[in-house]
Symmetry: C2
Subunit: 240 residues, 2 copies
DNA sequence: TCAAAAGTGTTACTTGTACACCCATGT
DNA sequence: ACATGGGTGTACAAGTAACACTTTTGA
């Protein structure tokens, strides 16, 4: 080993976003087990050490598949977290048990991913996987809370640079109000909903469906869908 | 060691941009020495393994200071490169010599930085440090050529999200044409220079100086400077 | 009939784009 | 005189923002 230089394991951690019926962004968290404290409910971001013949993108895709059962999920690397103090004593102890090996510093590469919240989660690795609204996320190990904070800034940038990834978070059929609520939840800048409506419905890749809402105590809204093929043909930039 | 998981060193590599008098983006490259082949001229991106008590940002800042002698340089992490095949056989051999230790896979975190090209480079670590125009960069070890390719996309995004970092690349006094040429070199989208002129001079943090060009065979252009304080007071978003 | 949200239309304002025109300087 | 780029002005197009008005539905 070369003195003074770190020689360690590298992991990936994934922040998976969903959008719930109450217009809140949610994040998928898994359970961290302490064998000696079985009742303590500890949550963490899904993640994994990187394997020998694996790149970071591969590792993140593997984590996502093990997490949800979905083969191909959109993902985006956004930052490497490597603060020397990011693993607390408790985290180090947990790694001792989890990996049966002593690791005192670990570097992680953080990924963003998006998932329709009504998709069934079928994890092959984790017993417990749950959605948490971003403002209800508990205290997490390592710097996972900080990773989530920064992921919020990142998802905003992502949507600004490619508006259409927003449709990864919506059901196939959606109303313009849903799209508006989601956009507002992410971008945090105010847009007049009527102008938003006009703008969105002017895009030719937003397909107007025949179906409308039912059982609402006001005029029923029309459902729309997103047509990726038409979008790709004339990929005009959208909401700047 | 835990089987199947990588257990390795992590490095940072820095892509430092400069803007030359011929309106080209340049990159700083250092010399890689082969003790057994002293005459071979090998270039690489400046970089370093990460030390024990150092975060990645710290490591990048250290590399930059060792490279240029400048204490604080702007920097931006942009991507972790971890492809299992990124170190060729030759690269592995070089690391054997350089670190006197066998490393067969290495993960790197890539950083962008910006430097006024007329600043004196005073490296405490490298004997040879030179500017290379981006289209004259030779074949480099590891995936350094790919890192540079991706850094070009990244610098474009950076300037779109914060226009004022462009002034890190210009001399303190600059003409609007210089700014225009630089902006064009980075953004690659055409803007009418007259409209650009009008727009730029309308910003109150672009200070019109009394000095003008000399020895030019046309009407002399005025010099301007960038006032960060005024900018920070009313940080309006600029060229979107 | 009323409240709530859908959906359309109108107008004013702001910004971007294209380009004409005059100015200054060295050859 | 003329080529080259500096710098200003103008006119039109396009996009954005504010908001009035009509429609539909359940309670």
């Amino acid at each position: 080993m070369i003195p003074n230089f770190i020689h360690t394991y590298v992991s990936v951690d994934c922040v998976v976003f969903g959008f719930d019926n109450e217009n809140r962004l949610n994040i998928l968290l898994v359970q961290r087990h302490f064998e000696d404290i079985p009742n303590e409910q500890h949550r963490k971001l899904p993640g994994s050490l990187i394997m020998n013949n694996e790149g970071v993108d591969d590792a993140a895709q593997r984590v996502l598949t093990e997490l949800t059962g979905i083969k191909k999920m959109v993902l985006k690397q956004f930052k490497c977290f490597a603060d020397p103090g990011r693993a607390s004593e408790k985290d180090v102890k947990w790694m001792d048990k989890e990996y049966n090996h002593h690791i005192d510093r670990i570097i992680t590469v953080a990924y963003l991913s998006l998932c329709k919240i009504d998709r069934k989660i079928n994890s092959s690795k984790y017993e417990t996987v749950d959605w948490f609204p971003v403002d209800k996320v508990p205290d997490l190990p390592f710097d996972h809370n900080q990773i989530i904070q920064e992921s919020l800034i990142e998802i905003r940038k992502w949507i600004e640079s490619d508006f259409t990834i927003i449709f990864e978070l919506l059901p196939k059929k959606f109303t313009i109000r849903q799209l508006y609520q989601l956009y507002s939840a992410i971008s945090e800048k105010y847009i007049d909903i009527k102008n938003f409506h006009k703008k969105i419905s002017s895009f030719n890749y937003i397909i107007q469906l025949d179906e409308i809402e039912t059982n609402v105590s006001h005029r029923a809204a029309r459902y729309y869908s997103f047509d990726q093929k038409i979008y790709k043909k004339n990929n005009t930039k959208l909401i700047k």
